[in-house]
Amino acid sequence: MSPESKIVGQTAMRSKVHPVPSAPPAGEGAAHAEDDHPLSEYLRMDRIPHIWCPTCGIGIAVKCLAEALDELKADTNKVSIVSGIGCTGRVAGYMKLDGFHSTHGRAIPFATGIKLGRPELTVVVFSGDGDLSGIGGNHFIHAARRNMDLMVVLVNNFIYGMTGGQNAPTTPVPAKTSTMPFGNFEHPFNLPALAEGCGADYVARWTTLHVRRLTRSFKEALTRKGFRFIEVIAPCSTLYGRLNKLGTGYDLMKFYYENTEIHNGADTKDVDIAFQGKIICGKFVDFERRTYIEMMEQHYTEVLGEKYVPMKPEGGMLHEPEDEQQAAPAGKPARRKREKQEVAGG
């Protein structure tokens, strides 16, 4: 692999531990890992080791995203990643992208602001089931309804991990959690059905065992528009596994191996996950539906014609007057060139 040849401007960004006095010194191990890791270009190696427990599935999902960016030779200068709060909420802090660790549940509206503020960016939301479908559920359904141009990765471990194993909107009946010590009796979400029902134009689900398929889904999602939803079923042996006596991380992965079925195109109504039941994986939804930005621009163009001035692809920033003159002599924002809108395409 030769990262230097891939992307202009990327070479300069290759990870260097910033010499900050207050920061813990990077040990030899860290420097070693930085040199060795094949995806160090996409990861903040100066933050390794990460906070996730051994056998946690989040790291696998992160690796698949890095792999997808690498295989696409994506211009990572133009990719932003936004997380909420929780175990998966830490992902934005480990990817070497413009990374935003926002508030609990608000990753999607935060990301919406980034996308609409600078439409040329590819914006990835990467967060957990509690964050995106619990406290952030309202934002999730509305972003899907709008077909907002966001790629949303939801890592589902069926439980609130960071706070110590509480019940989640995804916890199957009757799994035990720290706030349902006698077992959960609430109906959980079927997230692919929720996303499709609200209008997402791409919906897929994989477990962290399916690394090649997950990477492929990430690549597909990175190169298309609209609300792209990918659910990643991930093991949490520390809490979900332990509270339910499901064994080690290895046992959880073995469970995926023995109990997942791949049904591409399956009806999302049929992909509910029962406690220790079958997990249906696959790409369930993939169709063209006009996205939020397309709807907005087409509509204003139809109604207002030439008078319509869309947001500049690089954002609504006002430059100093001399810059403005150089960039656009008429003082009006240039019309967006559509083929440049999505930057991650390979």
Binding site: S22, G99, R106, G113, E120, M311
Partner: protein, 385 residues
Amino acid sequence: MKTDPAGVLTGAHYLDGDYACGEGAMAAGCRFVAGYPITPSTEVVERISRRFPYMGGTFIQMEDEMASMAAIIGASWTGTKSMTVTSGPGFSLMMENIGLAAMMETPCVVVNVQRGGPSTGLPTMVGQQDIMQARWGSHGDYQIIALSPQSPQEAFTLVIDAFNLAELYRVPVMFMMDECVGHMTEKVVIPPADEIEIVPRKLTSKTPEEYLPYSADGGLIPEFARAGDGYKFHTTGLTHDERGYPVMSAECQQQNVQRLIDKIKLNADDIVRYEEEEIDSADVVLVTYGITARVARMGIELARKKGIKVGVIRLLVVWPFPEKYIRELAGKIKAFVVPEINAGQLVLEVERCAAGKVPAVGVPHLGGGVHDPQVIADAIVEAAK
């Protein structure tokens, strides 16, 4: 620099305060607004949503106020000047992410057209009951800037200052209107674009290798890099070091949070703004802001007719509070009088600064209307005794 003419509707207009605020925001270069309908603020976004498509701006009606606040922070990180607009109940919902904006040091403007509270309160009627919430509403220690206009004309001019202060100090700025100013219609003169000074987003000149998102280089305000320019920075609501990386320690908390406080506190002399009148000869000084400043005019005249020497301090910037000046005055006058459309909020700050040297007399009104000027006059006369 001069502003973008595309957002400036030069001329004399007959506008209500909400529309004037919207025009001011557009004149200031605001190009992203996210909001959720709420009386009596909605006309601001109605105005903007009608005008934005002509100037490269995007308005989105979000699903709630939490989303609106989150969206403007996200948009601001792309360099696009951003604003949201709300009233009491929505302001409460925004508090979580106002704290995030303060912690991430994100320039943005939050307009609150105040109505009577608590809870749903008086949706269509005036209040000034959120003035302390503007300062203290989100959890944790931080400082913000808050401004309060007294007229539609000032809603236009002062919101431009709000955007400029947000840029200068990398802070969320609260624009504290009230229902009366929002819904009163008056002459508003919008100057030509080349007479409107705005502060552009100052981007760092450092290279990505040398850039640290939260290093203020010994100063108080770090340089900004926007998303998409290759800096690959990280920002978080967690306590963070100069790299923007989370550090869970008392030392880092001290450095991080103290700077958030100091950047406003130590620059307060440059930020505070007030108008004053007949202070030198005054026995009683009225401290006032927003619509109450105008209602108090008649109360002041009535008191002066009775021979009372009344001075006036009208706050344009409410937070940071002109602490030094009030302390100084406290040694020279008999009393402060503070009429507000609440049960007595800013009077507590005046009282704190007067430090027992002279009384600070509140003139409370719980909302739904403005003061009877005679009540203000009586309070002045009483305080002068």
